[in-house]
């Protein structure tokens, strides 16, 4: 080592970069990355482009540059931070234990703070993040509108006539994957409590999720039925709201924290043994609440108590006495990991274990099942082409399994896999289902 060689430092002058953003980054966490590059082969965008700027190591280096005021948090930095899927496969590959997901959230927060200053914030963005997701009633209303559109046959008509083309290309294509949502009538019939079958082992609070409950109301109901069957008293806790994951991933940390507080309060009052959900993305966020309150010790304590109770439905079901099924499915099934369930929560074995319990089911392992399908929150809308490229590669592996069902554990993945089936011309031969729904069909 040579002291003088530190002169080969960056020849970037530090004075002219406004150090507005350095403070938000946790430099210690950034420094945990020792640039070994073990993450590179695990990263879907790096594999796709071969560019260091599209790798976790590269993105962390850029964050370090911004944190140390060697780089500006400019449009190029923003573009690179948003080119990431946020699948967190790099965290699984990282021997140094770098919390990439939380670094990425901070980076995007830094970008959005900057955008707010320069009024680059779009109206649509504010509308969605501030006025839709956080409001369960508005989400419900959205669900009603969607149901009405579908019930009147407008969605099919739009696709058939090509009217859907007035939508941006990404939305036009993705809307085909949205299946019939539950009617207001069915939604209205949800009971606040579902009794356990037989002896009640635990009381679980069900976290419905916002998008999940609009698009996949029936999956939530199916999960609740499975939990009840396995001996849980299921409570649909009132006062809960969106988990805040989408906000956090999009750099809207303040809103994410606000939502987290509302959820923590709601479930504190309910006094349940576990907080259960069936959306890998939401679950990962709920379990990470304590990280969101790093500068607020009293809330962090409450967040820790909350997070300690959070379980993915597959996690809890696998730990309970085995479900008894009455029907045989006689089908071949493969499983696509939800990134935030596998890489974010480390839950890999339980979903497979549950699938293997279904009578008549042959489970075939999907090649590189824990690689992102390209859905990645809203990546398939914001980066449509890249997302579809990743999806098409995924479908090649799916085809090889010859499966009748592809099961997933997260609403985003489920929509993406449905889209994949359409794109791969497998409609009618293969069905994408939520793991819980498949289990429920055999009850």
């Amino acid at each position: 080592m040579n002291q003088t060689d530190k002169a080969c430092d960056l020849a970037i002058g530090q004075d002219e970069v406004t150090p507005v953003t350095a403070g938000k980054f946790n430099l210690d966490e950034i420094m945990n990355c020792m640039q070994c590059g073990f993450c590179l082969p695990a990263c879907p965008t790096y594999r796709q482009t071969g560019l260091e700027s599209h790798s976790p190591r590269g993105r962390i280096a850029l964050m370090k540059g911004v944190a140390q005021a060697q780089l500006p948090a400019d449009a190029e930095f923003a573009k690179n931070m948003y080119a990431c899927l946020g699948c967190r496969a790099c965290e699984t590959a990282c021997p140094a234990g770098v919390s990439y997901g939380s670094l990425l959230e901070t980076a995007r927060e830094v970008v959005e703070d900057q955008n707010k200053k320069t009024a680059k914030h779009s109206l649509l963005r504010r509308l969605v993040f501030e006025h839709v997701f956080p409001h369960p009633n508005r989400m419900k209303a959205l669900g009603m509108v969607l149901w009405a559109v579908q019930a009147l046959g407008l969605q099919r008509l739009a696709t058939r006539t090509g009217w859907a083309r007035v939508l941006p290309r990404a939305l036009a294509e993705m809307q085909q994957a949205v299946e019939l949502v539950a009617s207001p009538f069915i939604r209205g019939k949800r009971q606040q409590r579902m009794r356990a079958e037989g002896e009640s082992l635990y009381t679980v609070g069900y976290f419905t999720g916002c998008v999940m409950d609009v698009l996949f109301f029936e999956t939530n109901q199916a999960t609740a039925r499975l939990l009840a069957k396995a001996g849980c008293e299921v409570v649909f806790v009132g006062g809960q709201t969106c988990c805040g994951a989408l906000h956090a991933h999009a750099g809207e940390k303040a809103w994410a924290v606000e939502l987290a507080k509302r959820n923590i309060e709601a479930f504190e009052q309910s006094q349940v043994d576990f907080i259960v959900n069936s959306a890998g993305g939401c679950g990962a966020a709920l379990k990470e609440y304590p990280h969101w309150f790093e500068d607020d010790p009293s809330w962090q304590k409450r967040a820790e108590a909350f997070a300690a109770k959070v379980r993915d439905a597959s996690e809890l079901l696998a730990a309970l006495p085995p479900l008894s099924f009455t029907k045989e499915l006689s089908a071949r099934v493969t499983y696509q990991d939800s990134c935030h369930l596998a890489h974010g929560q480390g839950v890999r074995g339980q979903p497979r274990q549950l699938l293997n319990l279904i009578p008549g089911v042959e489970v075939v392992e999907l090649e590189q099942a824990d690689q992102c399908c390209g859905s990645a929150g809203i990546y398939n809308i914001t980066h449509f082409d890249q997302s579809m490229e990743i999806l098409d590669a995924k479908m090649e592996a799916v085809k090889k399994t010859g499966a009748h069902f592809i099961a997933t554990s997260n609403p985003g993945c489920l929509l993406q896999m449905r889209q994949g089936i359409i794109r791969a011309g497998l409609t009618g031969k293969m069905e994408a289902v939520h793991l819980m729904e498949l289990l429920d069909r055999a009850l």
């Binding site: 080969c8 020849a11 640039q35 070994c36 590059g37 560019l51 234990g97």
Partner: protein, 478 residues
């Protein structure tokens, strides 16, 4: 920020000519794109290039080098950037020549037992491809899942199988390479015996990108060993482990792999890989033998006996290939896992003749204590190649100065024991001040003359291998 740094400082007409060669898409010079090629896997060292170019044919490389040579623009050739001696940090700015697009396996020749590849092929992908044909390419550097074959050759990478199978240069048979002048040359080929002229093939192995750009390689293959077994032995003292290594070799057994991990390394590796290692032990040996089934069985049994005789507290033979692979994978992750302990992890590769291993380990422990720095040691015990790894924090300048002194003393200790300052990482930027200690001023002068013949304008990875100053900075302390 300086305007030229924002833009990169290549003159507009040079930039135009380079873009004419590769197109806009493969010429990167935005601030972020240059920043992410300002480092490799070596901590602390960083320098901005002016442009990053991704050629995909030999003709393109030739044209780029010609332009660079004409304008005296430094060229740093790079694969995946896993270098540990700052060898691919573009110290002098200029062009980073990213060779990752050269990623084709051109031919697997079953009659001649060779494979011809482009330099950007990832080492582990090469392993997979040849093993599918029942063939074997032994060099397996720690970063093989990421590193490229071209990078391995440029650095003459080693790995865990060095003891029995040697290192990258032992498998390099032929090369296509481009001189800074743009001239495309070939050296060696598929001949096992070839004494026509100077051995340019071997010269380029380990030349660290300071002479030419390699665009194609022909490598020697072996038949894939029929079986392999892995075992681990745990010791309450370092000496017992070192003696086991010496006695196994003395018993005329050459295992494919003999890895050594000290207690601190075992602990972090176990935390990452959850192997249930007995972390109360002082040292661990990880041994693998390959070959015909019965031989492997016999050797592993004999090694286990020796280990027990030499005081191993626990000996465990992996029951399945998966268990064995897990143990080796954990060892590969040792370096990165160590970085969990402190923000900066500096890894060296001082190497001694095998018989001096125990002395070297003791020296490292003594030196760490003397300078009050935290050094964990793991490495390739079978070939005397140790990886003393210092855990520090680059922001603490006072501690960093002590780390530097400690490493200097480690290098000197290695040389005193008849060893080398670098077993497999190369000299690069990090160890260039110490090279004269090993090869002498005469050796340096000769090496520089060789460089002059290849690269008269000093554009190829300037600043690496040789210190800029005529006199080395280090004073040998007696």
């Amino acid at each position: 920020m300086n305007a030229d740094r924002l833009e990169g400082k290549l003159a507009p007409d040079v930039k135009r000519r380079l873009i004419a060669v590769v197109g806009e898409e493969r010429f990167l010079d935005s601030l972020n794109e240059r920043y992410v090629y300002s480092y490799d896997a070596t901590p602390i060292f960083q320098a901005m290039p002016d442009a990053v170019i991704m050629p995909q044919t030999t003709a393109e490389v030739s044209k780029i080098l010609k332009i660079a040579n004409e304008h005296r623009i430094p060229v740093t050739t790079r694969g995946s950037g896993t270098n540990l001696a700052a060898g691919t940090v573009p110290t002098a700015g200029g062009i980073v020549l990213n060779m990752q697009r050269f990623n084709r396996i051109v031919e697997i020749d079953r009659e001649n037992l060779t494979v011809t590849v482009e330099p950007g092929v990832v080492t582990a992908d090469l392993h997979q491809a040849v093993e599918a044909e029942g063939l074997f390419y032994p060099p397996d550097p720690g970063s093989m899942r990421i590193s490229t074959v071209g990078g391995n050759v440029a650095q003459c990478a080693g790995g865990m199988r060095g003891l029995k199978y040697g290192v990258t240069k032992d498998y390099l048979m032929g090369l296509e390479y481009v001189l800074p002048s743009g001239e495309v040359l070939r050296a060696g080929g598929k001949n096992v015996k070839d004494v026509a002229g100077y051995d340019m093939t071997r010269l380029l192995a380990g030349s660290e990108g300071t002479l030419a750009v390699i665009t194609q390689l022909t490598l020697k293959l072996l038949p894939l060993p029929e079986a392999k077994r892995t075992m681990a032995a745990y010791y309450a003292s370092l000496g017992d482990a070192a003696r086991t290594v010496e006695r196994v070799i003395a018993a005329k057994i050459i295992p494919a792999t003999m890895e050594f991990l000290d207690q601190a390394t075992m602990r972090v590796v176990d935390e990452f890989a959850k192997l249930g290692l007995p972390t109360g032990m002082k040292a661990m040996l990880l041994i693998e033998q390959d070959g015909p089934e019965e031989w492997v069985e016999r050797d592993i049994e004999r090694i286990a006996e020796i280990a027990k005789e030499e005081g191993a507290v626990q000996v465990r033979v992996a029951q399945t290939p998966e268990e064995g692979a897990n143990l080796l994978a954990a060892r590969r992750a040792a370096l990165s896992a160590l970085s969990r302990l402190r923000p900066t992890t500096i890894l060296e590769d001082a190497t001694v003749p095998r018989s001096r291993l125990a002395e070297m380990v003791a020296e490292i422990e003594r030196i760490a204590e003397k300078y009050d720095v935290q050094i964990c040691t793991f490495g390739h015990a079978g070939d005397g190649n140790l990886h003393p790894t210092c855990l520090t924090d680059e922001r603490n300048k006072e501690e960093l100065a002590r780390v530097e002194q400690a490493f200097e003393e480690i290098f000197l200790a290695a040389l005193r024991l008849g060893g080398t300052i670098s077993g497999e990482h190369g000299i690069g930027l990090a160890k260039r001040d110490y090279l004269p200690l090993q090869v002498g001023e005469g050796g340096i002068a000769l090496m520089k003359a060789i460089k002059e013949a290849f690269d008269p304008n000093h554009i190829m990875n300037p600043g690496k291998m040789f210190a800029n100053s005529a006199r080395r900075r280090v004073v040998i302390k007696q």
